[in-house]
Amino acid sequence: MKEMHLTNALKKDFPLFQAHPELVYLDNAATSQKPQVVLDALNTYYTTQNANVHRAVYGLAEQSTLAYEGARARIANHLNAASPQELVFVRGATEGLNLLAWSLSQQLLSSGDIILVTEMEHHANLVPWQQAALRMGAELVAIPLLPDATLDMNFLKTLEADGRAQRVKICAVSTVSNAFGTTHPLSQISSWCKNHGISLVVDGAQSVPHGSWDVQELGADFLVFSGHKVYGPMGSGVVWGKEALWDQLPPWQTGGEMISRVTLTSSTWNSLPHKFEAGTPDVAAAVGLAAAMDWMVAFGLKHIQDREAFLSQKARQILQEVEGLTLIGPQNQKHQLVFSFTLEGVHSHDVAQYLDRDHVAIRSGHHCAQPAMRALQLGSTARASLALYNTEEDLHCLGAALQAAREYFL
């Protein structure tokens, strides 16, 4: 009861829920709503600090630069990065993964090498690698899915047995599947990569929003995430990488800001992290993201995790009680915030449309993970995904609306 009171109060921090008091927002895996403090940070930046960064000498430009670099330092601190230089700001996970797919493959791949992904990746962590492989004459290999939407980890043994493990140079995996909510065995993948000298890129789009931040514990070489799923603004995102690795990589985009010396025929590159930030950055987005992460810290990461674990358990319980509902994915994962399901006899689009009438917002379709859907022979699923501000009441609304949807279409 105390907890419920707490989270109901939490929604008051989010102006969108004031504008739509009836809304039961369960599409948090797609994007989260933004607390007032984040909107205030954007407003303060644009109303009192706006100027281009890094170039001009006047006071306002200095303030803007301080705001931008300050945001980088705060986020670096939250992520437990060795230094702010290890963080490159990008537009979101998609841009970050494109950057890495370009620069890492340029640096590490020769013809015949392998990029290892999983069959469960978001298209953003699949297509850039697939295209990099095509460009470099390399091969894309995917760890397959098992019927319960977990990874077939025995596949790594197969790669060792048939000698392909030696050819893997890059491995790119997500922490949590946005399609099915599966948490992948990252520490196992990480040690396997270490043993085989493979660079590991982690797509944290679905775990960073829930407070899994520590890059020292991650066991990866690079981490990518989108700020807009972490209560931050659209257009914000981060790539973290180890400095020694960043240093070796060629830049992705080129232009202003990322250079050191330019002649008509050649250029040298700026120091980290600027080498990877060509052009005018979205300063406000960076400032907003730092404010969002500060806000989470003020709330307490442990508290967030406890609260979400409670919601996760409730959600599973409520969904399991809906007649004709089949949950896709692991059946006993404790901390699961993405629930993918089918409702017997009702197409997921019709489920989502019906729920919209009851102001319950969920997703339907293939969730940008077509290979994974194909592997499980699913055309589409409905997906409810949770965030910190959701309440037990939200979940009861979901359950009741699903029950009613089934009756409507049957």
Binding site: H347, S348, H349, D350, Q353, R357, H366, G379, S380, F409
Partner: protein, 145 residues
């Protein structure tokens, strides 16, 4: 409730639950498969013509929501008996109505098809309603080229 019932008219739900002219079209290759990339729904369409280019049989296969299934079902019912030129006019008229360029009354002559009018109030679902029609478009193009 009203708006939702405008979308899911009784006739639509009826065609969804018991689609007409739905058949297994596995023998047709994936090159005739039409997909809605935003949701993963797909449809295949098969037309049989007589010696005078009249459609004698129209069948569809695929995975879809109530709207796309009912639309395909209603479409195939109407196609039977049309010649290719008539089918092309019919297709263009339907797509114009869905785009809001033509009055829905124009569909009256085609009976139940009018029930798809409600979809126009749900812009995100227009792609569902037109999926089978885009399959028809490419079938007709193939037949005339």
């Amino acid at each position: 409730m009203n708006q939702l019932d405008d979308l899911y008219m009784e006739i639509i739900l009826d065609h969804y639950k018991s689609p007409r002219n739905k058949a297994n079209l596995d023998h047709l290759g994936d090159d005739v498969l039409h997909e809605n990339p935003s949701c993963g729904d797909s449809v295949k369409l098969d037309l049989q013509l007589d010696g005078e280019n009249r459609i004698t049989q129209a069948q569809f296969d695929g995975h879809g929501c109530a709207i796309s299934t009912a639309s395909a079902s209603l479409m195939t019912e109407r196609l039977i008996g049309m010649n290719i030129a008539e089918a092309q006019d019919f297709l263009q008229l339907f797509l114009s109505v869905m785009r809001g360029e033509e009055e829905v009354e124009k569909l009256e002559a085609w009976g139940d098809l009018e029930v798809l009018e409600g979809v126009r109030k749900f812009p995100m679902r227009i792609k569902c309603a037109t999926l089978a029609w885009h399959a028809l478009e490419s079938r007709l193009e193939a037949l005339t080229s």
